[in-house]
Amino acid sequence: MNLSLINTQKLFIALVSLFLSTVSLAQSSDQQQRDTLSSRGNTKELKRAALSLVPSSYMIQYAGSIGLLSAGAGWDYGKQKQWSTDFLMGYVPKYDTDRAKLTMTIRQSYTPWTVQLHEQLSYHPLRTGIYLNTTLGKQFWYKEPDKYPSSYYKFSTRLRINIFVGQDFSYKFKSSTSYFEGLKFYYDLHTSDLYLISGIQNKYLKFDDYIGLALGIKFQIRRK
């Protein structure tokens, strides 16, 4: 096997540290904002800090190589809330295999531009990012078990690295007191390391063979 995929473990660590650095960056800008608002009381600050641990959205998603249906929670941050980090659990039915599967996903997305179409409706022409997905079950391994000669299979069946490009529409409710302040409908075109390498190497494979489509709804939680 002459496959020269990137060492997935190293990449995973790199991505996690990259993710952590964006979070801390976002936090430090939050900190600056808070400093300028220091006239407000300490209680408010504390309340704010506690709130940032609570998710700012819940979501459900259809498809996306992470399950038939997935559900999760996300945190939006940054000045324009252009960054978000989502955690999802996905369910893969049995289909023609022996058992159904559960998956876990961490997704980092970046939504740079907002277009206000209407008082309540806004459009984000680009959302993009990366998500890591692991499939639970002993059939799937991060690294091949010890029985194999070292580097026998140079990839992981458990960890998929996906990239995506998509768009979304956000709808804000009229009410200013409801628990949810709005809905966000998004779609992503995505591919994973293994699909991409197959697609790039073979003219036979068409765009829709190795690029997938995911649909999702985010329920945005009101921040006070």
């Binding site: 096997m1 190589s65 038939l68 289909y95 998956t103 179409l117 779609y187 994973s192 190497q201």
Partner: protein, 269 residues
């Protein structure tokens, strides 16, 4: 400016509608659409159509994982020939065990005009790949008779298994020797990984050789897995193991079998 965005929205919606068949549930979802149980159906064809043939000529390909273009070209080339009775794929249909890989390769092989059968390769066992293989192609151990020759097709990927599944399956080998005794006079054994390879259970290599030599008139063995052309008398007993290169080398073997005799040819394209 607003109009511009409306156009973008419309374009996006039409792209969405166009891509309705693009939902991918999971790389190992195991959602199989299209033809299944291919080996069983094609074996019926082979046994029916070639029952009275004195000369059998077939192509042996292997290890087509992630070489979709080269497999597709092979199909086009072999479809132009009129002298090939059937095609045996020596395993490694998928590279990563992905459900889609099995279906991509199946859809290429389905364009073959002649019947084909596929063996289980070690890469086909990855994740839940073996479950997909069994649905799409069939059991990892099987046999068929073409003319007067029995083809014993064996799973030899012992490294992928544990002791709960015997690989190679000696009781299957013994059972098949007794089955359809009157219908065949000679035997060919086909496998993905040959004895001495990293996948084979080499502790039983000599026993394996002994048990297949009990078959009537064993002519030769052939295998894939090593991605290179091989012609070796591994056990120094006159039984040659022929290894076929991976399809990415754009090479395949052709075997011609007559009574008590066979020839082989390495073809490049």
């Amino acid at each position: 400016m607003k109009k511009f965005w409306i156009y973008i929205v419309l374009a996006s919606i039409s792209l969405l509608i166009h891509s309705c068949n693009m939902f991918d549930i999971h790389p190992y979802a195991g959602k199989i659409e299209g033809r299944q149980d291919i080996n069983r159906d094609n074996i019926i064809k082979i046994e029916r159509d070639y029952a009275d043939k004195d000369t059998i000529k077939y192509a042996f390909i292997s290890d087509s994982q992630r070489w979709h273009d080269d497999l597709d070209d092979f199909v086009k080339i072999v479809n132009k020939r009129s002298d090939i009775d059937f095609i045996i794929h020596g395993g490694d249909i998928s590279d990563f065990g992905l459900t889609k890989e099995f279906l991509w390769q199946r859809d290429i092989l389905e364009k073959l005009k002649q019947p084909y059968v596929a063996l289980l390769g070690n890469h086909d066992c990855l994740a839940n790949g073996e479950e997909i293989f069994e649905q799409v192609f069939g059991s990892p151990n099987y046999s068929f008779i073409a003319g007067k020759t029995k083809f014993l097709c064996l799973n030899t990927n012992a490294l992928e298994s544990d002791y709960s599944t015997p690989v190679p399956d000696f009781s299957f080998i013994e059972h098949e020797r007794q089955t359809d005794k009157g219908r065949f006079e000679q035997t060919v054994v086909v496998m993905h990984a040959r004895p001495t390879s990293d996948q084979f259970n080499n502790n039983v290599a000599a026993v394996f050789q002994y048990s297949i030599r009990q078959y009537p008139n064993l002519l030769y063995c052939s295998n894939g897995h090593d991605h290179t052309y091989q012609q070796e008398d591994i056990f120094n007993d006159g039984i040659i193991y022929y290894g076929t290169p991976n399809i990415g080398k754009r090479q395949y073997l052709i075997f011609t079998i007559t009574k008590d005799h066979y020839t082989h040819e390495l073809v490049s394209y």
